[in-house]
C-alpha cells in the first residue's frame, strides 16, 4: 500500500479515481447492505403479495407509471397466476439474497422483478424509496456482495475443509459497487436539495406546515404539534438543505462522515415521527452501511468480543473451541448435500408453486365462494347527489385562512412568540396565514376596545338565520344572513380599522400595532374580516409598565 501511495499513479486524477473505485477490499459494507436491504424491501412485498393478482396482472387493475407519463402501457403484463408466481419468486429471491444463497442469481432475479412490479403499480408500490431500492438491487447484482457473511461463503469454506485445503483469509473484491452505493445516496440527497431550492415555500416552512397535516402516510402524531411552532420548520429547512448538499462532498471519511451520517439518521428519524415515513428511512439508513470499511468492522468485532466476554464469560480458549466445532453446513447429512444450484432451483420452484396454490385457495375476488361472486356495495342516492351535484363551489372565506395569530417577533417571516398578553410599548404583529389558492383579497383587521364602550363605532355580532332544517341561509353572494333581532354580544368599541390587499401569491400578511401610551391597559380584541365576514378573532390584554391590566 505505501508503495502505491508513493507511486506516480496515485498523484494523477486518473490514478486517484482508479484507487477510489477499484481498490481491493473485503466487501463488509456491501455485505451488510445485502443482508438488510432485501429484508426492508420484503416488508412491502409481503404486504402486497395477497393483492398480486389485483395489482400486477391482466386479471386485475395495474397502474403503470408509463400511463401517467402518457406513454401507455410500456411494461408487459401477465395473467394472474403468472404474476402471482413471479411475485412469489421475487419474495423468495429477496430472502435468498439476504442470506447470501446463490447471491448473484438472487440479486439478478430481484433486480429485474422488483422494479418491474413497482412500475406496474405506481399508485401503491412505486415511490422514491422503491426507486432507491431498485438502484441498490442493481448494484448488488453487479457486485460480489456474497463473498463474506453469506451462505455461499460458508459453503465455499465447507468445500475447502472437505478437500483438506486451508481456510482462506476473507476474500477481497473491487470497491466500485460500494462506491456507487455511496454516490447513489449522495446524488439522491443532492437531487432532493434541488427540489427544495425549486420550492420557496420550503424555506418559509409553509410546505412542511401543510405536509404535517397531510394524512397520506403512516401515523405521525408528533408532526401535527409542529403546527403550533411553524417557525421551527424554517430552521429545519436550512439545516436540511445544507446537510443534503454537503453529504455528497464531505461524507466520505473522518469527522465529515460521522457528522453527515449522524445528521442523516436524525433526519430520517424525524421524517418518521413528523411525516409518517416508515420504510423510506429504513432504506436510506441501510444504504449508509455502504460507508462501512474494514476498520469499522474490526472495531465492531473487538467491541462484540468484549461484550461476549463481559456478558457471557467467554474466554479465548472457549472461543477457539467454538470455532473448531463443525458448522451447521458440516453437520448436514451427506444425502442433503445436493449441489447448490440444483437445491436453489428446486427451492425456487417449490416456493413459487406453493405461493400460486396458496393464492388460489385465498380466492382474492371471491369467485369460488359458495354464495357466488361479490356484489357491488350500494351508495345511497343522497350520497350520490352530494358527490355529483355539490361540485365546484367557491372556496369559503374561512377556508382561505389557515391561521390568525398575535406576537411580537418573527423569524423567517413567521411569528415566534404567539401570545395573548402584551405590554405598553410592545410592537404587536397580527399575522394571517392563508391557504392557497386564494384570489386577490381585501383583508381587514379591526381593533376593538372591550372595556371602554363610549365613543367610536359600536360593533355587534349576530346569530345567523337558519332554515327549518337548521342549516344556515345564505344570500345571493354566498354570505350568511345575520338575524339582527338577536344581538349575541357587544364587541366593544372599534378604535382602529386597517386593511390590506393580499395578492394571490402571498401566503402571509401582517398587521402591525405599536401599543403606545395612548392605548390604555385593558382587554382588546382583533377581529379579522374578509368579504365583510368575520373569519377570525383574537382577544388580548395590554398591561401597564407594572404588569397590571387596569380596568375602567
Amino acid at each position: 500500500m505505501p508503495a502505491l501511495r508513493n507511486s506516480g499513479e496515485e498523484t494523477t486524477v486518473l490514478g486517484r479515481l482508479q484507487r477510489f473505485f477499484f481498490a481491493e477490499e473485503v466487501p463488509y459494507g456491501l455485505a451488510i447492505v445485502r443482508i438488510l436491504m432485501p429484508l426492508v424491501l420484503l416488508i412491502d412485498v409481503i404486504e402486497r403479495w395477497p393483492h398480486a393478482r389485483e395489482h400486477f396482472s391482466t386479471d386485475g387493475a395495474t397502474a403503470q407509471i408509463s400511463v401517467t407519463y402518457g406513454w401507455g402501457k410500456l411494461m408487459p403484463e401477465f395473467p394472474g397466476t403468472v404474476a402471482v408466481a413471479l411475485f412469489t419468486l421475487l419474495a423468495f429471491s429477496l430472502v435468498t439474497l439476504s442470506v447470501g444463497w446463490r447471491t448473484r442469481i438472487s440479486a439478478a432475479i430481484a433486480c429485474v422483478l422488483y422494479p418491474y412490479f413497482t412500475t406496474l403499480d405506481s399508485l401503491s408500490f412505486l415511490t422514491k424509496y422503491t426507486v432507491i431500492g431498485s438502484h441498490v438491487l442493481l448494484l448488488l447484482a453487479v457486485s460480489e456482495c456474497g463473498l463474506v457473511w453469506s451462505v455461499d461463503a460458508a459453503l465455499e469454506q465447507r468445500r475447502r475443509r472437505a478437500k483438506g485445503e486451508p481456510a482462506l483469509a476473507p476474500p477481497t473484491t473491487s470497491a466500485f459497487a460500494r462506491r456507487l452505493l455511496q454516490l447513489l445516496i449522495g446524488y439522491t440527497y443532492f437531487g432532493a436539495a434541488i427540489t427544495k431550492m425549486h420550492t420557496p415555500a420550503f424555506f418559509s416552512g409553509d410546505q412542511l406546515l401543510f405536509w404535517v397535516n397531510t394524512h397520506v402516510n403512516h401515523w405521525h402524531g408528533v408532526g401535527e404539534y409542529f403546527t403550533l411552532i411553524p417557525w421551527a420548520f424554517s430552521i429545519f429547512a436550512y439545516i436540511v438543505i445544507v446537510w443534503e448538499v454537503l453529504f455528497l462532498f464531505i461524507g466520505w471519511r473522518g469527522v465529515g462522515r460521522t457528522c453527515m451520517l449522524t445528521l442523516g439518521v436524525l433526519f430520517h428519524l424525524g421524517t418518521t415521527l413528523i411525516l409518517g415515513l416508515y420504510i423510506f428511512p429504513m432504506v436510506c439508513i441501510t444504504v449508509y452501511f455502504a460507508f462501512t470499511n474494514a476498520e469499522d468492522v474490526r472495531w465492531a468485532a473487538i467491541q462484540f468480543r468484549r461484550a461476549r466476554e463481559r456478558w457471557f464469560g467467554e474466554t479465548a480458549r472457549s472461543r477457539r473451541a467454538r470455532r473448531l466445532q463443525p458448522s451447521l453446513f458440516d453437520r448436514l447429512p451427506a444425502a442433503a448435500r445436493i449441489p447448490a444450484p440444483m437445491a436453489f432451483a428446486a427451492a425456487a420452484v417449490a416456493v413459487t408453486l406453493l405461493g400460486v396454490q396458496g393464492e388460489y385457495l385465498m380466492d382474492p375476488y371471491g369467485l369460488r365462494r359458495a354464495e357466488g361472486p361479490y356484489t357491488l356495495k350500494p351508495v345511497g342516492i343522497e350520497r350520490a347527489r352530494e358527490l355529483l351535484l355539490t361540485a365546484n363551489g367557491a372556496i369559503t372565506p374561512e377556508d382561505q385562512i389557515f391561521s390568525f395569530d398575535m406576537g411580537t417577533t418573527t423569524i423567517g417571516g413567521v411569528l415566534v412568540d404567539r401570545r395573548q398578553t402584551f405590554k405598553q410599548g410592545d410592537c404587536l404583529y397580527a399575522q394571517v396565514t392563508f391557504n392557497p389558492p386564494h384570489g386577490d383579497m381585501w383583508v381587514q383587521c379591526d381593533l376593538h376596545d372591550l372595556v371602554r364602550g363610549e365613543g367610536g363605532k359600536l360593533a355587534y355580532e349576530y346569530e345567523f338565520l337558519r332554515d327549518e332544517n337548521g342549516d344556515y341561509l345564505k344570500d345571493e353572494e354566498g354570505n350568511y344572513v345575520p338575524d339582527k333581532t338577536t344581538v349575541r354580544a357587544k364587541l366593544g368599541t372599534i378604535i382602529d380599522e386597517v386593511g390590506h390587499v393580499v395578492t394571490r401569491d402571498r401566503m402571509r400578511t401582517n398587521f402591525g400595532y405599536t401599543l403606545g401610551q395612548s392605548l390604555e391597559p385593558g382587554r382588546y380584541a382583533l377581529v379579522l374580516k374578509t368579504k365583510g365576514r368575520e373569519v377570525g378573532r383574537k382577544i388580548f390584554t395590554v398591561l401597564d409598565d407594572n404588569g397590571r391590566a387596569l380596568a375602567n
Binding site: 477499484f22 395495474t62 420550492t199 397520506v216 356484489t375 357491488l376
Partner: protein
C-alpha cells in the same frame, strides 16, 4: 475484460445519475419518459393546503348507485389507513380500477362510472387538542366542514371515456384568476370577431365552469 466492463458500468451509471440531476435542476426533459422517475429525485408530496380524496361511483340501469372502488372484497392501504385509490392524484388509473371491480362482481348493467374528487382544507386534519391550542375554539364537527367536490372523469359502463375535467385545485385557480372583470374584458377584446355557424359556443365563464354539475346534467353521456 472484467475491469473494462466495470469501468464502463461505473461511467454509464454515473452519467445517468448526473443526467438526472441536470434534468431536474434545469427542468429539462424531466417528465419526458417514465424512466426519468428513476433518476430524478423530486421527493415532495403534500404541498397543498387541501386534502384530496377520490370516490368512484357507478350508476346502474335501474338508477341505483354503487361504489365502484374499492372492490367489495376489501381495500388495500399501502402507506397507512388510506385506500390505494386515493393515491391516484391524476385520476389516470381510477377508471381502470373500477372496470376491474365491475368485471369481478355480480351487478346490474352499469350505464356510467364517475370519478369524483373531494377536497377539504387541511387545517381540519389537526387533532382536537392542537386545534384548540391553535385557534382557541372547539374544532368543527365533520358535518360542519366544507367539502369541495368535482367530477374528474365520466366513463361508460364498458369503460369508454366520456368526459374528463381539470383537477379541483387547477379549476379553483382558474376561477380565482378569472374573477377579474378587467381580465375578462381584455380576453374578449383581444379576440378577433368570428361568427361561427349556427352552433352554441360557450362564453369564457362557461368554459371556466366546465365540469359543473349543471353542465354535466345538461349533457349526459355526451361524447
Amino acid at each position: 475484460m472484467k475491469k473494462s466492463l466495470a469501468v464502463a458500468f461505473v461511467c454509464t451509471y454515473l452519467s445517468v445519475l448526473s443526467f438526472g440531476i441536470f434534468a431536474h435542476a434545469l427542468s429539462f426533459m424531466q417528465g419526458s419518459h417514465p424512466a426519468m422517475y428513476f433518476i430524478v429525485w423530486d421527493m415532495f408530496c403534500g404541498w397543498s393546503a387541501y386534502s384530496q380524496r377520490f370516490h368512484v361511483i357507478a350508476e346502474g340501469e335501474s338508477g341505483e348507485w354503487y361504489e365502484a372502488a374499492p372492490g367489495p372484497w376489501g381495500s388495500f392501504q399501502p402507506f397507512g389507513t388510506l385506500d390505494r385509490r386515493h393515491y391516484d392524484s391524476f385520476s389516470a388509473h381510477l377508471p381502470n380500477l373500477a372496470m376491474n371491480n365491475l368485471r369481478h362482481t355480480a351487478h346490474e348493467p352499469i350505464t356510467r362510472v364517475f370519478v369524483v374528487e373531494e377536497n377539504w382544507a387541511k387545517k381540519y386534519n389537526m387533532p382536537e387538542d392542537v386545534w384548540q391550542r391553535q385557534y382557541g375554539t372547539v374544532k368543527p364537527r365533520d358535518e360542519q366542514i366544507t367539502r369541495y367536490h368535482r367530477v374528474r372523469r365520466v366513463h361508460s359502463g364498458d369503460g369508454s371515456p366520456l368526459h374528463s375535467y381539470t383537477p379541483w385545485h387547477e379549476y379553483q385557480v382558474r376561477v380565482l384568476v378569472a374573477d377579474n372583470p378587467r381580465l375578462i374584458s381584455d380576453m374578449r377584446r383581444g379576440k378577433s370577431f368570428y361568427a361561427p355557424p349556427a352552433r352554441w359556443m360557450p362564453s369564457v365563464q362557461e368554459s371556466l365552469a366546465e365540469g359543473s354539475a349543471k353542465e354535466f346534467t345538461a349533457r349526459p353521456n355526451a361524447n
